[in-house]
């Protein structure tokens, strides 16, 4: 009788704990690949590499980072890049998705073709875009560098200097290389955003649109007051992806502009790469990585909060 009770007790505990055992491998993996590197990065940000090993330097890495002239400059470039990249990609993605929703002929083919940029690696896409505008030799250089078309001296995208800033040291208007970088990055991100929005558009009930039309809503009003609010969750997902990808992506900058000309495309992720892998200042790079992560969190939570407010208002 007692044996039976013990067995029942074991079975009961086993059943209760089964979910934990099932989830345990995932927890261990997350601890190893996420928690541990995060803690290590925090530790690293307080160290400096010396010939004899690591040396605790407290917040010196952060101090040096803030004191470097390139740091605020790269923040400016990142803001410009993110604004251009997200606005351009979302707008264009939305417009293309609207077109594709019209059930035009061969829309399946268009969607397939649209996927091409998405399957090309960042670095490769950057290299291809670079080859297109390499001074004197690029496919488009003959056109762009033609003074008759772009007076007075033509435009060499990769070497043209940036215009004088309008707001103090803030790098706006951006250099031609930055605009080109935004275009290239958007080109690559466009398929994902378009398909996401297209999928969301197809969930908008036709009856709602029809009712609004009967009530006399114009095309713009339909889009503004019906379509956009209904696909907002998908837009938020797209925005998250664009912000995180744009903030952290370095492959395109690396292969397309290398931060140049000068420092005109030194976005913060590229600065991180340069400090970490160019200068081998791992402590300082870790400090910058923490700051970037912090800014990512702030951006994401802000967007989440704003969209929640919007949803509750609806």
């Amino acid at each position: 009788m007692q044996q039976r009770t013990a067995l029942q007790s074991f079975r009961y505990r086993w059943r209760k704990s089964l979910p934990f055992w099932l989830i345990l491998p995932t927890i261990v993996v997350i601890l190893i690949v996420q928690v541990y590197p995060a803690i290590y990065t925090g530790w690293l940000s307080l160290q400096e590499r010396e010939p004899g090993g690591w040396l605790y330097v407290g917040t010196k890495n952060f101090d040096r980072l803030f004191a470097a002239g390139i740091f605020p400059e790269s923040i400016g470039h990142t803001v410009v890049f993110l604004l251009g990249y997200t606005i351009f990609t979302l707008t264009l993605g939305f417009l293309i998705a609207l077109l594709l929703k019209q059930n035009v002929r061969l829309s399946g083919l268009y969607i397939t073709l649209l996927f091409i940029p998405w399957i090309i690696a960042d670095v490769i896409a950057g290299l291809v875009f670079r080859l297109l505008v390499t001074p004197d030799y690029g496919l488009f250089s003959g056109i762009l560098q033609n003074p008759a078309l772009i007076p007075p001296n033509g435009l060499s995208v990769l070497t043209a200097t940036r215009p004088a800033p309008w707001f103090g040291n803030f790098p706006f208007p951006p250099s031609p290389a930055m605009i080109y970088l935004i275009l290239a990055a958007s080109w690559r991100a466009l398929p994902f955003v378009t398909l996401l929005i297209l999928a969301a558009l197809q969930t908008v009930p036709a009856e709602v649109i029809e009712s609004a039309r009967i009530d006399g809503a114009t095309g713009f009003q339909l889009t503004r007051h019906i379509t956009v609010p209904l696909i907002l969750p998908a837009m938020v997902v797209a925005l998250f992806n664009l912000i995180i990808g744009g903030m952290n992506g370095v492959g395109m900058v690396f292969s397309l502009t290398g931060g140049g000309p000068g420092t005109s495309t030194y976005v913060i992720s590229y600065l991180l790469y340069v400090i970490g892998w160019g200068q081998l200042r791992f402590g300082r790079a870790a400090a910058l990585a923490l700051l970037i992560a912090f800014v990512n969190w702030i951006l994401i939570f802000s967007i989440l909060r704003m969209t929640r407010v919007n949803e509750s208002r609806r």
Binding site: R13, S17, F20, L24, I27, V28, L31, I32, Y36, R49, E50, P51, G52, G53, W54, R64, A67, A68, G69, I70, R130, T134, P135, D136, Y137, Q145, S156, L158, T159, T161, R162, G258, G259, G260, P261, G262, T263, S264, V274, W277, G278, Q279, L280, R281, F282
Partner: protein, 486 residues
């Protein structure tokens, strides 16, 4: 009961996590830069355990010595037989010498080469040393990388071992300095010296390549009127500011300028530096160079290849990369390898000259070295010693190495008179280099990897991006920012 069980589970998770970390962490590798006092005497002999009990009348058969791998990192790949490869010379050298080395050390070492990208090797090695990962037994390196390795404790101090070798006294003192760390230790063995000079299309400069900036401006204007660029060079900020040590340093040092004060501090704001940058700014404003000089990716070389640019200041080893060639008179050198430039030099179409310098100044140039380093944590240090001796103790082999991957002048003084170094190419190069004072651009700077992008970005800003900026103010600002971290 429930809470106890939960506590148990939490403890269990932590134990599993800790165990996983321990399992994943590297074996206890020394993080401190070890000082190698003496060659490690351990032979890789698989020792048999001594048997306690006497084994009756069995003859003791000695185990053959296990052949150990000797792992190197080169930027060359012995398996790449592409005749159009930029690294053809080094690739071919490794393909030839790996079997020779393995034959000479048969039964002892087996040379295994791992090709690495030239601009990523430093990062990979430092990361491997810090992480306690697998490191090679020997790497090839340039002088400017040495200090970065030293700062990260990635190289062994070879002083005591090197000084005991027969070839040490024969080493060029200038090359030794480039391998010497701030603590006085010798962290690499220099094999070749790589000075910078200017390759010139002779026909474009019928009166000879200018020797002063004033002459250069006159000639440049003439060439411009003929539709030819006076020169092309690496003027981009790409490759972590590597342009700092290229043409910009040749020009600045020719003007009597410097990047450091000899005490480890950056010194940019000097009248000589300002004058050099003013000169460069003027040449750029007058478009004496193609726009490609600022594009990175070495596309600027193309203008010299087709002779639309009349000169290219670059490293001595540039001849390997600048091909095929078309001379101003249309003569084509189309082998597509290093022989194109060598042939053009032999034909007198291309000449090598020092950088021009203001009256009273001696032309300057960058002096880099090619050398060997032994990484901290190398498993087979003995093989690395054998390899270095194999190259350095035999003059023919040393010269073969210098002409191959070394790509410069021999670091051994006695090898400089070797018959293979008496070709038109080396003779002309020697004249150009001897007319210059060549020093490493980094001087006493202990953080060249930080200094290079800072200097190049500043120069680019001053000469291209915003030529209206005050040069002295900008240079002072970069100098102050660097020195604040000293």
């Amino acid at each position: 009961m429930k809470s106890k069980f939960r506590s148990f589970l939490i403890v269990l998770v932590l134990v599993v996590f800790t165990a996983a970390l321990v399992a994943c962490s590297s074996p206890a590798a020394p993080t401190d830069a070890p000082v190698v006092d003496e060659p490690v005497a351990e032979e890789p002999v698989a020792e048999e355990p001594v048997a306690e009990e006497p084994v009756a009348e069995e003859p003791v058969v000695e185990e053959p010595m296990e052949v150990m791998d000797f792992v190197t990192w080169y930027q060359y790949d012995e398996n790449n037989e592409d005749p159009a490869s930029d690294e053809r010379v080094g690739n071919a050298y490794l393909k030839k010498t790996i079997p020779e080395f393995n034959a000479d050390f048969a039964g002892k070492w087996n040379w295994v080469n791992v090709p690495k990208a030239w601009d990523k090797m430093t990062q990979e090695l430092v990361a491997a040393v810090i992480a306690g990962g697998d490191v090679p037994d020997l790497i090839e390196l340039g002088g400017q990388q040495t200090i970065t390795y030293i700062n990260n404790g990635a190289l062994m101090d070879l002083s005591d071992w090197a000084k005991a070798q027969s070839w040490y006294e024969d080493l060029d003192p200038g090359a030794i300095i480039t391998c010497t760390g701030p603590d006085g230790g010798l962290y690499c063995i220099p094999t070749a010296e790589r000075p910078a000079l200017t390759y010139v299309w002779a026909e474009h400069y019928p009166d000879g390549y200018p020797t002063t900036p004033e002459q250069f401006m006159v000639e440049a204007e003439r060439l411009k009127s003929e539709g030819t660029y006076a020169w092309t060079y690496f003027g981009s900020t790409a490759y972590d500011g590597s342009g700092t040590g290229r043409m910009v340093w040749s020009l600045i040092s020719s003007f009597g300028g410097t990047y450091d004060d000899g005490q480890g501090n950056m010194l940019l704001n000097t009248p000589e530096n300002v004058a050099a940058i003013e000169f460069l700014r003027e040449t750029i404003a007058k478009e004496y160079q193609p726009e490609t000089v600022f594009a990175g990716g070495f596309v600027e070389e193309d203008s010299f290849k087709d002779s639309s640019a009349a000169a290219i200041p670059t490293g001595l080893f540039g001849y390997r990369y600048i091909n095929p060639l078309t001379a101003p008179d249309g003569t084509k050198y189309e082998k597509g390898n290093e022989n194109d430039m060598l042939d053009a030099i032999a034909d007198g179409k291309v000449v090598m000259r020092p950088m021009f310098a203001p009256e009273g100044q001696t032309p300057g140039c960058n002096l880099d070295i090619q050398g060997f380093g032994i990484p901290t944590g190398a498993k087979n240090v003995e093989a690395a010693y054998d390899y270095i001796n194999w190259i350095m103790s035999d003059l023919d082999r040393h010269v073969e190495f210098v002409i191959g991957p070394g790509a410069g002048f021999p670091s051994l003084k006695s090898a400089q008179s070797h018959p293979d170094m008496q070709t038109p190419f080396y003779q002309q190069a020697a004249i150009a280099v001897n007319a210059s004072v060549c020093t490493n651009w980094a001087g006493s700077l202990e953080r060249p990897a930080e200094a290079a992008p800072a200097i190049m970005n500043a120069v680019y800003k001053l000469v291209k991006e915003d030529p209206s900026l005050d040069i002295a103010t900008e240079l002072q600002s970069v100098q102050d920012e660097y020195n604040a971290n000293n």
